[in-house]
């Protein structure tokens, strides 16, 4: 098992990073490389399909988000955007996935659902814009997954455990390493990309409005997809992280512990307790209570019907 990024760096020197992870998995879990490639080929397709569905927009469960992907896509198609297509597509695809997620659509947790837009946003935008072979994208997913699994050895990957740094932060690190890989970077550059990306998400809190994975999660995924690309760019140019990746992860865990409970997914702090956040929270609670009352009435009606059937 690969237990640290230091060990990964040593093992992978002069080698293909995806191969190193695949071999380690085969050794540890007895899963042949072809099975992992096959499973991740399916994941890539689920991501693609999800992006296609999500581009059209729709309304989220809490009705707080929904048209972000559609708006950006329309502006892009109409030539009314000012950024380069790679950046826009990274944002657009992340928004598309997160839109689907907020509608309880089928997505790939990468590493979580709430942070599930970052990796597909970065990787699939890059694949299209830089003509990367889809098979290489699949291998980049091996790299992303491998990076995530090393982080997961020392950190719980959830907003509840350590705030959004543990979700979107880790997703951005995974994506940055994978992008460096796709652009033919060295393993060390991938590890540096991950460290640079994660360092700049440290302290990010999880403060979902109304407790829903909608605000700020959907747009945050889009913005961090772009952040991950820039981290990979720095690493590919030779910029190194002064603090090694293993230590960045340690810092993340410590910061996560120090964060108060109200900023760890409970919707009891941050954006969730702003005036607008509270008003939305109250409305959602009222609506949920109403739905419960309706369901109870429906159950009662069914029970009465059954009773009537029995007596007749």
């Amino acid at each position: 098992m690969i237990e640290s990024f230091k060990q990964l760096g040593e093992l992978a020197r002069g080698r293909d990073l995806a191969d190193v992870f695949l071999e380690s998995d085969a050794q540890e879990h007895g899963v042949p490389a072809e099975h992992i490639i096959e499973a991740l080929t399916k994941r890539r397709q689920v991501m693609r399909d999800c992006i296609e569905r999500g581009k059209g927009g729709g309304t989220s469960m809490g009705k707080l988000v929904g048209n972000e992907a559609k708006l950006l896509n329309e502006a892009f198609l109409a030539g009314k955007t000012f950024l380069d297509p790679l950046t826009i597509k990274a944002e657009l695809y992340a928004l598309s996935v997160m839109g689907e997620n907020s509608r309880m659509g089928v997505i790939v947790a990468a590493p979580t659902a709430g942070a599930g837009g970052v990796v597909p946003g970065m990787l699939l935008a890059l694949e299209e814009e830089r003509n990367v072979d889809p098979a290489k994208t699949v291998r980049a997913l091996v790299v992303a997954g491998g990076v995530g699994s090393i982080v997961a050895l020392s950190a719980n990957i959830s907003g509840a455990a350590g705030g959004c740094q543990n979700e979107v932060g880790v997703a951005t690190a995974m994506g940055a390493a994978a992008v460096a890989y796709m652009m033919d970077g060295t393993p060390q550059q991938s590890i540096n990309a991950a460290a640079l990306a994660l360092k700049n998400t440290l302290g990010l809190v999880c403060d979902p409005v109304g407790g829903l994975v909608e605000v700020p999660c959907v747009k945050r995924n889009a913005l961090f997809a772009v952040h991950g690309l820039t981290a990979a760019q720095l690493a590919l140019a030779g910029v190194e992280s002064v603090i090694p990746m293993d230590e960045v992860v340690e810092a993340m865990v410590r910061i996560g512990r120090a964060l108060p409970r109200g900023l760890k997914e409970t919707a009891e702090g941050g954006l969730a307790t702003t005036a607008t956040g509270c008003a939305i929270g109250d409305r959602l609670k009222d609506e949920a209570n109403q739905r419960r009352a309706e369901r109870a009435a429906e159950r009662e009606r069914l029970a009465q019907e059954r009773k009537a059937e029995v007596t007749s």
Binding site: R43, E100, N101, V106, A110, G114, N156, S158, R261
Partner: protein, 213 residues
């Protein structure tokens, strides 16, 4: 990479659906009543994240990527399953922790576990016994009467099958009384081996769970 799943949160939908599914698999029959007891942080967030659909969905046997998860509560009601949600402070546990009390026509079961992110679960209590169940490998759960030689008899049957044991843990309520063994194995176990284990003296019940998808 995490699982293919129905949104919106891997802790709250994928992990919780798997926890519900573990309870359903241990019960090993269609449930008639399920009670979900939520640790306060989960109780504060579960509805917004669809954990109620996911927990119920898992407990009636749906997979995490089943598009019927959003309809799970209605489906459960149609099946005549009684559903209840409650809140209880379980002390120093992961924020997203739930106890599932599930009852079928013939049997009942109870598990407590945490959804720790990315769909990963940690079931730390099964029918009152301390456990370490993650659902990521085939696992044998054994309920038996504590006595010398039990571990060697059971592991011999597994060894005869040529199956490697990844981990083994036992716990008991009292010396010589009710005990529990959890054996994680590297490859699937045959029905014949399971039958032999069930036939071992002092074994009350053996449950073989495949990887929880």
């Amino acid at each position: 990479m995490g699982p293919v799943m129905v949104g919106p949160s891997s802790s709250h939908t994928a992990g919780t659906a798997r926890l519900g599914r573990v309870a359903r698999e241990i019960l090993d029959e269609d449930p008639v009543a399920v009670r979900f007891v939520l640790h306060p942080p989960l109780a504060a967030t579960y509805r917004g994240h669809g954990s109620d659909f996911a927990l119920v969905g898992g407990s009636i046997g749906l997979n995490v990527d089943d598009p019927r998860i959003p309809e799970a509560i209605r489906i459960a009601e149609q099946m005549g399953v009684e559903i209840e949600f409650a809140e209880e402070d379980m002390g120093d546990v992961h924020p997203n922790t739930v106890r599932v009390e599930i009852r079928g026509k013939a049997r009942e079961a109870e598990i407590a576990g945490s959804s720790i992110g990315g769909g990963v679960i940690d079931v730390f209590n099964i029918n009152g016994f301390s456990a370490h169940f993650k659902g990521d490998s085939p696992t044998l759960l054994l309920f038996y009467r504590d006595r010398p030689g039990m571990i060697s008899e059971v592991t011999k049957i597994i060894a005869d099958e040529g199956i490697n044991i990844a981990s083994l843990a036992c716990s008991r309520k009292q010396r010589g009384k009710d005990a529990f063994m959890q054996i994680d194995v590297d490859s699937p176990m045959s029905k014949e081996a399971l039958r032999r284990i069930c036939a071992t003296p002092d074994v009350d019940e053996a449950k073989y769970l495949d990887r929880i998808p």
